[in-house]
């Protein structure tokens, strides 16, 4: 296992906005790393720093031991165009060929087309492709040069379930052939299907960096909502990640194990009323993790 890319105390500022805030991260060969976070968490900026598209405001970004701003370093890097932007008048085969010729040992156009299900559309202009086909071509372009490291920024946004699964299969196949993949997403489902290691970002910072099961445990929170005169005592119970008071007098607690909390609640003899329990959405789980993180920083 070798380290393919390394970020050390990297920050990137756009005017007043700190898009990436003091991030340190090693990307090792052989894994699929999922970069998970809500919109605006800094995922895309992080990817663009690794691609050499942007320079960090402070800190260092290293790719294969060199600078990603140097074109020679990027010989072993694969990435995709964003928002399925392809030159509309060029044919699919031409685009694959054009990208492949930048690399020392590219895959043949036919092999790429076969693997990503583009064999039937090689002669079509990219402007005539469906959304799913454009996505598949975009992702395929990242693998044309047989890269050591592939960066995929939201590769399946806007795809239906079938198209998404087809693309996931193609990605897993590429990973088995030796590519290390970094994939960003705001779908937990996608990260669950692909990633072995998960980095959760929020407000430009790394909130969690762990194996998939460990992160799933942290983000798979439940919401317990009730009204009580003693919210402080409940918050002190084990397993409570955070709490949030509403205007209607109820308080919402985020916990990993809601059953255990309720047992504890009853045993402790805390008065409560109007109890409801439901699963937290990924967005809520993120917010909780983020809030938690901020508290730790304040302390």
């Amino acid at each position: 296992m070798t380290t393919l890319a390394r970020l050390q105390n990297v920050s990137r500022r756009f005017g007043d906005v700190l898009a990436v805030d003091d991030v340190s991260l090693d990307i090792d060969s052989g894994t699929i790393l999922g970069l998970l976070g809500p919109n605006g968490a800094g995922k895309t900026t992080l990817i663009s720093l690794l691609e050499g598209l942007r320079r960090p405001s402070s800190g260092t970004v290293e790719l294969f031991g060199g600078s990603p701003r140097d074109h020679r370093t990027r010989q072993a890097l694969g990435s995709t165009p964003q928002e399925t932007a392809l030159p509309a008048t060029l044919r699919v085969g031409e685009v694959i060929d054009f990208v492949g010729r930048h690399f020392d040992a590219p895959m043949t156009t036919d092999a790429v087309a076969g693997e990503f299900g583009l064999g039937d559309v090689l002669k079509r202009q990219t402007g005539s492709l469906s959304g799913g086909q454009k996505r598949r071509l975009s992702v395929a372009l990242a693998f044309v040069g047989r890269p050591k490291l592939v960066l995929l920024d939201e590769p399946t946004t806007g795809l239906d379930v079938d198209a998404r699964r087809t693309l996931w299969d193609a990605l897993r196949c590429q990973h088995e052939n030796g590519a290390t993949v970094v994939v960003t997403s705001h779908y937990l489902e996608e990260i669950e299907a692909l990633a072995q290691r998960v980095v959760v970002m929020g407000h430009g910072r790394v909130i969690a960096d762990d194996t998939l099961p460990a992160v799933l445990d942290r983000v798979a929170l439940r919401q317990v909502r009730l009204s009580t005169p003693e919210p402080g005592r409940i918050a002190a119970l084990p397993g409570v990640a955070s709490q949030e008071a509403s205007d209607d007098g109820t308080t919402t607690f985020y916990v990993q194990d809601s059953d255990a909390l309720i047992v504890d609640l009853v045993r402790a003899g805390i008065r409560f009323a109007g109890l409801t329990v439901r699963g937290a959405t990924l967005e809520e789980a993120f917010l909780t993790l983020t809030a938690h993180d901020e508290l730790e920083v304040v302390r």
Binding site: G52, L53, H71, A85, L86, H102
Partner: protein
């Protein structure tokens, strides 16, 4: 692949993309010929005098190549930067030099090619004259002296958004065209303007092409100036390309 190979690769695909929408070429290919037909051919005092007609055809050719360079490069590049395909190309292992030179090869070749009909019309409908060898020499001089304009266009494209680029290109183009003696011949200039104009790439381009076509002496300030402008504007274009990080919003 080598930088030269990548330059040719990018140039080829630039041309391929453009050729798929042939109508887009009409503007740059037909405009110089129309300008000659409207502005020079009807003025018989100019058109019937071999010396004046030849110089008028040359001035117009320099102007056409210059405006094509500034507009095509400035606008195309600034527009492309706003689309996500361009940032993607930057992630490929190709050096900035190859990208910039590929644009010069593809767009520049078409700009110079647009002058062929101008030479033909000039030869047929005016008293302009030159031997075939002189005409070829003129095209070479035109190609060389248009490099600074292309690099200025590239610089504008990478420095500004497309809306700002239109405005800046227009101002730069008219200022250079007038002070370079492309609208009014420099012999009508006041002394101070004549002196100033010798430091500008448009004036130097005009003199270089006239020298290539009509002979005479080439003043050192002409070729020294052109070489200096090529070096300076190429360096500027490269710096702006490298500095660029796509569209900036605040």
């Amino acid at each position: 692949m080598s930088t030269a190979g990548l330059t040719l690769l990018h140039a080829k695909y630039n041309l391929l993309e453009t050729s798929r929408v042939p109508v887009a070429l009409i503007g740059s290919l037909v405009f110089p010929s129309l300008a000659l037909l409207f502005f020079v051919v009807p003025q018989r005092t100019v058109a019937d005098n071999a010396l004046f007609a030849t110089q008028a055809v040359i001035s117009l050719s320099v102007f056409a190549v210059m405006s094509n360079s500034l507009f095509s490069f400035g606008l195309t590049i600034s527009e492309n930067r706003e689309k996500p395909w361009d940032p993607y190309l930057r992630t490929l292992p190709a050096p900035g030099t190859a990208r910039v030179l590929a644009q010069v090869l593809s767009t520049g070749t078409m700009g110079v090619a647009a002058i062929i009909p101008v030479a033909v019309i000039g030869g047929l409908f005016t008293a302009a004259e030159a031997s075939p060898f002189r005409i070829v020499a003129g095209f070479v001089a035109l190609a060389v002296s248009s490099l600074p304009f292309m690099f200025i266009g590239i610089g504008i494209g990478y420095a500004l958004s497309s809306k700002a680029a239109i405005a800046v290109v227009q101002i730069v183009m008219f200022a250079l065209a007038f002070t370079g003696g492309l609208f009014l011949p420099p012999m009508l200039f006041a002394d101070w303007l004549d002196t100033l104009s010798r430091f500008l790439p448009s004036r130097e381009a005009r003199e270089l092409v006239i020298w290539a076509v009509q002979g005479g002496t080439l003043e050192p300030w002409t070729w020294i100036g052109i070489l200096a402008w090529i070096a300076a504007t190429f360096a500027l274009a490269l710096v702006l390309f490298r500095r660029d990080e796509g569209r900036r919003y605040r």
